[in-house]
Amino acid sequence: MRTEPGLSRAAERRLRFAAFALLLLLWWGLALVLHSDVLPTPAAVWERLWAHAVSGELWRHLGATLARVAASFLIAMLVGTAIGILLGGSRRLDVFFDGWLVLGLNIPALVTIILCYVWFGLNDAAAVLAVAANKIPTVVVTVREGARAVDRELLAVATAFRVPPLRRLTRVYLPQLLPYLFASARSGLSLIWKIVLVVELLGRPNGIGFRLNAFFQFFDIAGILAYTLAFAAVVLAVEAWLLRPLERRLLGWRA
């Protein structure tokens, strides 16, 4: 709970590398000790990844999944944030929709997915809709907490100076929601990817979820891990090249 002196960029990179190396080592060690198909070695997974990358199959499935994840993510974040701000800002709306929200949160993915597929057909639009519908309530809940915690004294400044609504939103309101939005985006991306897996399992002819199921049928954990890691690598890249720089820019004032 105390602030430490800052880390240089180089030191940060070294730390990240060390963490990665340690993880690899732990995994490898464990895999060798256990010596079971349930935990293949990094080498086995890498080999599988490589084979699928070369054959092009990896890219096809990864691409399909990423497209679905991206579309659902954008929809869920936009809609969820808007609703969250509304509910957090108005006690009346909040009380009214609170029960709906709890229901929305707790409807199993399976139900939304089935309903979307049955109503809108076995297509990507239905898939994306189902995933977004699953994620929106959790964005709402997080953003709503943020909106409730917004500093009223600072809002009063904007009111007193009659700051126009859009500017008030972007420069007074949203900056306070940022930690909540980042939390929501990070856990959201992972949740969405997990739901996309289920959606693909139940009714898409491609994507990692589809592929994973085939691996799973044959208990091919190396294959499962290979595709999982391929997706994780993408998320790590998004973290490093999008979320972290954004965070540095937007939340740099806290440093």
Partner: protein, 248 residues
């Protein structure tokens, strides 16, 4: 009421859960361009009144007419911590950009250009207060609400800022509501001083000052002596009354 003047008819302002209003029976008319000082004990309701006038709190009985073009200095600086000094000013300006005029204002407040790209958290208390003051001036308001603007500043800077405020007021002629605990400051600046007091608080005394500004220290001192002779209670407890009038 129109044209920058202010009319307050506050029958009562209650805080939730309290039976006694903080403010009651308060009638105040301020002419356009008037410089009004508000003085009263801590906790009597000065900031509450300012918030009501600024339209930040509509939960009172009564009616307030105030021009919409407001500049306000809150009792605490209330800068957006995530905006640089420059962007804090830009936030309230009409076109959303920090104009050269606004930067000149910061300069006049003795905020060197090097501080323009700093965040409020990297400023000293007095620097933050000056930025907040510049923000209130920068919008060139018709109504300027100032809640103890010159505390937390060293004497020379405070004095220069008082002069700046007077210049600004004489040039632009906004209606000014100036809350202060420093009677001398009120006497040096105002067209009129309104003393608040009592429970619930209301106006206990009004003093019209017709001397031209800037007022020389001697003039202020004379006013203070006059006032003290008729209302000795107002100055009780000041560390430095002028030497001729030792404290009771």
């Amino acid at each position: 009421m129109s044209g920058g003047g202010l009319s307050v008819e506050l029958q009562a302002k209650y805080w939730p859960g309290s039976d006694v209003p903080v403010l009651a029976g308060l009638r105040l008319d301020v002419a356009a361009g008037e410089f009004l000082c508000l003085v009263g004990p801590s906790g009597c309701g000065k900031s509450t009144l300012l918030a009501a006038i600024a339209g930040l709190d509509a939960d009172f009985l009564g009616r307030i007419d105030a021009p919409p073009e407001r500049g306000m200095l809150f009792q605490t600086p209330r800068l957006m911590p995530w905006l640089t000094v420059r962007d804090n000013l830009a936030l309230v300006l009409a076109d959303g950009r920090c104009s050269p005029a606004a930067e000149a204002l910061l300069d006049a407040m003795e905020i060197p250009p090097a501080l323009l790209d700093r965040y409020p958290g990297q400023l000293s208390g007095g620097q933050q207060r000056r930025v907040a003051l510049a923000r209130a001036f920068a919008v060139r308001p018709r109504l300027l609400l100032l809640d103890e603007p010159f505390v937390s500043l060293d004497a020379p800077v405070a004095q220069r800022l008082r002069e700046l405020l007077l210049e600004h007021w004489m040039r632009e002629r906004p209606t000014v509501l100036f809350v202060t605990h420093d009677l001398d400051e009120a006497l040096a600046l105002g067209d009129r001083i309104v003393f608040l007091g009592g429970r619930p608080a209301g106006i206990v005394l009004e003093l019209v000052l017709s001397e031209p500004r800037p007022r020389a220290p001697e003039a202020v001192w004379r006013l203070r002596r006059q006032l003290l002779s008729t209302h000795p209670e107002l100055l009780s407890g000041r560390v430095i009354p002028d030497p001729e009038t030792p404290r009771p």
